[in-house]
Assembly symmetry: C2
Homo-oligomer: 223 residues x 2
DNA sequence: ACAACAATCAATTAAGTTCTTGAATGAAAA
DNA sequence: TTTTCATTCAAGAACTTAATTGATTGTTGT
């Protein structure tokens, strides 16, 4: 039956793409690339992988269409091939969160204890921003912020938080976001701010999801 | 740094779930389960896997939270754990379609040649149904139809199509759907109908996606 | 209790994946 | 040109996954 073969072939392709997501290191690389494009070298520094290993993982991601690469001088710069990839990662997270008991426990024991108040959804944040009700802080390092951030957010990396508390309003709610739902920077920022008496909550997910949803973003001028 | 570990652990979990999608056989099982719950035995018949092998794949899917099982007499019935799983499969398909060149070619050479007219989106079909503009046919076998189908659709399995052409209107557009975007039954039905002078198009995706989107479905009475 | 049957488990073999190491490219700077 | 540096390639060892086989569990019907 000729009907069966193309279907099988299709499943094989889907499986190959799924397998390329089937490694914690590759998922970490994808998360980093979801922020902004980066060279292999940068990715090596950020992940702690060896150079050859990172390169091979990146090539695998490229082979299956998740990332693209271009050469820029001595460096090879990788970036996500398509915003759909972020959506795929989101869908994977959602299924994983709902269904895997162990993950539930992990989320409860680590993340939830740091954020008993419900995190804010994208939609809700957008509304409060429009009404001028919140101050939004981006807890990622300056380079990532410069490459793109939620429109109207101010960059306040975790490392500078204590020094720059004066910049923040005491009366208004502060919303912190970061790389994604499992990025800990925003959890820690919220914990710290609350300890000091600020009203702080976390955005449910991070910059890549915000951008992929087509919500307003901006870049720093000198990029 | 205590921040790194839970993140790593989370990536490991996500990767494990992704790996459980990383096999054509398991994807096929998931697609079949997206239609309706089924026993191991049925799945074996439908896929051609050996019993032990199918059982092991199903257990793996269960271990990672994609399916659930219950015992019913001598049989063990599996079903999708969550409608989110369908969304994850959709996201995987979308990324695969867009990004993998080989898949594009496959889609072009086999699927597209059978359906030069654009397929209909769910939203569009819903609108035309509300306006009474279309006849919707479900090309899946009667059991699957009985377990759940698009509200208002009539069941017309491919095998009965030629015999039952008289039931179909010549002047109104006919929309065929099936198990999912890569299910060939609806392609073949549309090809056949066009050959015979009917106005026929395919629904872009299938029953599981329709249901997961929360659109109106119905079941046959005696279920 | 026993036979029949669906499904699972356990053990094996084959195949595939990951990481490491060291050599090979390829672009830029000296 | 030669040197330097970022990246990729190639090969091998350690580990993981897939499919097959035959034994075992658990449920129904006699």
């Amino acid at each position: 039956m000729s009907s069966q073969n193309p279907k099988r072939a299709m499943f094989e392709h889907l499986a190959a793409v799924a397998r390329s997501l089937g490694s914690a290191h590759r998922l970490e690389l994808l998360e980093l690339l979801a922020q902004t494009e980066r060279s292999v070298e940068e990715l090596v520094k950020l992940t702690g992988l060896t150079l050859a290993n990172a390169s091979q993982h990146l090539q695998q991601l490229r082979r299956f269409g998740l990332v693209e690469a271009r050469r820029s001088g001595k460096h090879v710069i990788y970036r996500l091939a398509d915003p759909e990839v972020v959506r795929l990662l989101e869908a994977l997270s959602r299924v994983t969160e709902r269904n895997v008991g162990a993950v539930e426990k992990l989320l409860n024991s680590y993340f939830r204890e740091r954020d008993r108040l419900e995190p804010l959804s994208r939609r809700e944040l957008l509304r409060r921003m429009r009404d001028g009700l919140v101050t939004v802080i981006d807890t990622r390092p300056p380079e990532e912020f410069a490459a793109g951030h939620v429109a109207g957010a101010i960059n306040l990396p975790l490392s500078e938080l204590k020094r720059r508390l004066r910049e923040l309003p005491r009366e208004q709610e502060i919303v912190a976001y970061c790389r994604g739902p499992y990025c800990v920077l925003s959890y820690e920022a919220v914990a710290e701010l609350r300890k000091r008496g600020f009203k702080a909550v976390r955005l449910e997910d991070g910059y890549p999801e915000w951008k992929a949803a087509g919500l307003p973003v901006e870049q720093s001028a000198n990029l």
